[in-house]
């Protein structure tokens, strides 16, 4: 599994921008994208994001990995909307005696939804590629997301990689002992793998608690200190959001 998150590129101005500013701008643009009915705004957002991807030198492989799943969803939605709507027929195809008709209204709706998905995915990708996860957590904490939620998020993010490694070791051991060879064995091997992961999770949680208690843990982790905002960053971001808002209204 490839976790295609933050792409380290300190030279790019977007990577140096405050995480809180980026998060707020992303959320505002996301709301605009979701509530816009038309194509122009979505195309504009997608084009800006594409320009930023190229400028940030995002590797093609990472880019494709990030967009492959949404692309498949876009295809399915286009297929559903075009062939399972009603209204004026666009064209018909005979496949093995079954007549399938494409509809004009369905195509229009499908393209609109597809555009919305691509624009929303792109704006999220820009934020994720340019912001380290810890900075995102700090920004979420600044947005008054409950402390317990942030703590769980931190533990989960820390231990995903450890558990993936554990899962790999268990999987290899199972394969070496002829696990996953037949369908029923596949079921039982997978069940044991998941059960073992949960056991590992229990063990890790006990160990980490003991280790933290020895270092003064009292049930709460102190969260991030927020540095003051850079005024120029805030002003430029505000102007950008304002200009996007004008396009959205038009």
């Amino acid at each position: 599994m490839i976790l295609s998150g933050y792409i380290h590129n300190n030279e790019h101005w977007l990577s140096r921008l405050d995480g809180r500013v980026k998060l707020v701008v992303t959320l505002i643009i996301l709301v605009m994208v979701l509530s816009y009915k038309g194509l122009a705004f979505h195309l504009l957002v997608t084009s800006i994001c594409l320009f930023l991807f190229i400028q940030m030198k995002i590797p093609w492989r990472v880019f494709l990995l990030r967009f492959s799943e949404p692309a498949l969803i876009v295809l399915v939605i286009l297929f559903l909307k075009i062939f399972f709507s009603s209204g004026e027929g666009l064209f018909s195809v005979d496949i093995m005696g079954i007549r399938i008709t494409a509809y004009r209204e369905g195509l229009a709706e499908g393209v609109s939804i597809a555009n919305r998905i691509i624009a929303a995915i792109s704006i999220m990708a820009v934020m994720v590629f340019s912001t380290p996860f810890a900075e995102l957590l700090a920004a979420l904490s600044w947005l008054r997301i409950p402390k317990a939620f942030i703590e769980i998020l931190m533990y989960a993010y820390r231990y995903i990689f450890v558990l993936i490694e554990d899962a790999g070791v268990i999987y290899d051991a199972q394969k070496n002992r002829l696990g996953y060879t037949a369908l029923n064995r596949r079921f039982s091997s997978f069940g044991i793998l998941v059960g073992s992961l949960i056991l590992k999770a229990f063990e890790h949680s006990q160990n980490i608690t003991v280790a933290m208690v020895q270092r003064g843990y009292d049930g709460d982790i102190p969260l991030f200190d927020q540095k003051p905002f850079n005024l120029s960053e805030v002003v430029v971001s505000f102007l950008f959001v304002l200009s996007m808002g004008v396009v959205w209204v038009i």
Partner: protein, 377 residues
Amino acid sequence: MEVLRKVGMRDSIIKIILVSLVYCGTVLSTDIAYAMHISEGILPFSWAAFWFILAIPFVAYGLYSLNKRSREDMSFKPLAGLMAAVVFIISCMPVPVPFAGTCSHPCGTGISGILVGPAISVVITAVALLIQAILLAHGGLSTLGADIVSMGVMGSFTGYFTFRILRAVRMNLAVAGFMAGLLADWATYLTTSVELASGIKGESAFLPLFWKVLVAFIPTQLPLGILEGAITAGMVILLYKKRPDLLIKMRVIKPGDIKMEKQGMTALIISVFMIGTILSASIPAEAAKWSGVDEAVIEKVAKEHGREAREPLINMEQGDLPLFLFLIAGAVGGFAAGYYWRSLIVEKKPLCHSEKRSDEESKISPDGRNDITHRSS
């Protein structure tokens, strides 16, 4: 492959055909394979906001419960974080679904619902979904509310309550785990269908689109639900065998429940029976309207040859005869089930020699004194 080779096709062409077939199968059922997490941007703002508003009280209650539990047990927050990591990994694992020719993934929320309770499981799922949305574009920030409702709320609560109800009627761990995993998975996909259909319906009617999305889910989700049930059962049994203390700590079983539970064929038969009942109940009413071979073929041919069908001697379609028979069947069945209830549900304790002796020894004598005491005196 051999047949195609005999026809004279080259290996490369056969491979291309096979890959195309697999690809078509995958693309035509991608909404199944990936739609558990509704992708970023699919839902319009109004629907995205609606699902967020619906999810917030559950997450808030989950956080309240989490804080309460972590005050009692300091290791609970790290445990919840690690459970979120496990749910993240489980719901990223591509599992080949043999009947659909594609890959899909289990939810894992049934498991977490059973282990940490449904309210905290909602928080765990929300965390796993947020990380997936950020790192993998699997789901999205705008669709987080909808995903929390389908996977977190529906999956966790269905899994938890199924497990609890089945355990309350003294069903063994394997069956309860299996049914919890199965129903949690299917409940998740049912909700996802509602969310997807309402999000993409546009000007068209909701119900026809909902049925189309639901039917599109069936080829993958039906077997995957069974697979998730098997995984959940396997996981519960593994924990029971290896670390029953953890199940007691997580309040999944009571200390008194520590005894060898019968698994195997009984569990399988009961599970298959329950799945059959659920599936037969879910057959659409329209299916009943389809004429059978009697009406469509035999009666038609007989009529053509001048042999009209006569009125049946006992006409089941008139009067309350079916209802009467149903009542009798219910009374007899109810009596039998009631009479043999204990032998069906309560497991016989294997009495080993030492237990038998200790039972005899601990008998209370008629004067109220223990036999041993009585003997020694």
